[in-house]
Symmetry: C2
Subunit: 158 residues, 2 copies
DNA sequence: CCAATTTAGTGAGTATGCCTATTATATGTG
DNA sequence: CACATATAATAGGCATACTCACTAAATTGG
């Protein structure tokens, strides 16, 4: 009989539920209301001004169809703006707005503060171990994901 | 600057993407087409014949609204049947069908075989460590989740 | 330069995962 | 028994996450 409770897939799904819940609660306690996914997109938009949607998606491992909806919501709330790229008229360039930057600046410390709560019940050493193993596994499985993480500047060997 | 790539929440989301992708590929290679979520629901329905939806949801940490849709799809494909509970007319009792049991019997070995692929790049020992830490963290954070795992037979102290 | 291929983004469809509200039914208390 | 409360399931809505098909535009090969 398959013991679901010890299967990594089940445990990862549970941790994902806990993670999104803790994130949302922490951000709301700081007086804002953005999801972890929106936070990551906003952070990367701030770090790479004028990046197009496809590259932004690759930097945070989102599907191309998914990032469209995320940006729709961020744009509707005035946190990012999109323009047709001057160098490639297929592409749409994403820029964080002043309002988006303000949200990011207020939310980022709260996000940093809640990191330990995402893996509750673990010692600092155990958390480090978990993060190290998760990094190793996600790097090794990157190609297995439907939306792999892509480097900012793709290597020719890729 | 927040380093998203080392945040447990981001890593967990990436592992979740890899996990669902590997699961689907493995199940499809075995000639079937059910998701990890459907597999867990089917497994628990087989293990607890006649369980109602709310308890089934609790056993696998699903939201009550979510389990309805999952069972809709399993029922549409003839893998489970639902009836009004004879002891509580609000509740609907879930039973796995012969077809559902057949799918489960064929898929379960494939699921067991793909477990190691869910955490690729890790040694057997590292996988054990990851699973142990994930169990510890998910147990500790259970209440933080919107849909906590509930015991089959709830204790009065809960 | 032109045709074939690739790429960026969207749209429609499906599946989780959550929220709030509603309906129907139980249960507990006076 | 009557009333207040609690619970099971659903309905409708929003947010990821993915698939496939499509349009428009860029790139590559000849």
């Amino acid at each position: 009989m398959a013991d679901i409770y010890r299967m990594p897939g089940h445990l990862i799904r549970r941790l994902h539920q806990i993670s999104t819940s803790v994130f949302l609660d922490g951000v709301r306690a700081a007086g804002h209301d953005i999801t972890a996914v929106q936070f990551a997109a906003l952070t990367m938009a701030a770090r790479h001004p004028g990046i197009d949607q496809a590259r932004l998606a690759g930097l945070i491992a989102y599907d191309r169809a998914t990032i469209g909806g995320v940006l729709d919501r961020l744009e509707a709330r005035g946190f990012v703006a999109r323009e047709v790229s001057p160098t490639d008229r297929r592409a749409r360039v994403v820029k964080i707005t002043r309002a988006g930057r303000a949200v990011l600046e207020e939310v980022t410390p709260a996000v940093a503060a809640l990191q330990d709560e995402i893996l509750p019940g673990l010692t600092a050493e155990e958390r480090e171990t978990f993060i190290r193993l998760a990094e190793k596994a996600s790097a090794a499985g990157n190609r297995r994901s439907r939306a792999p993480l892509l480097p900012a500047d793709p290597l020719p060997s890729d």
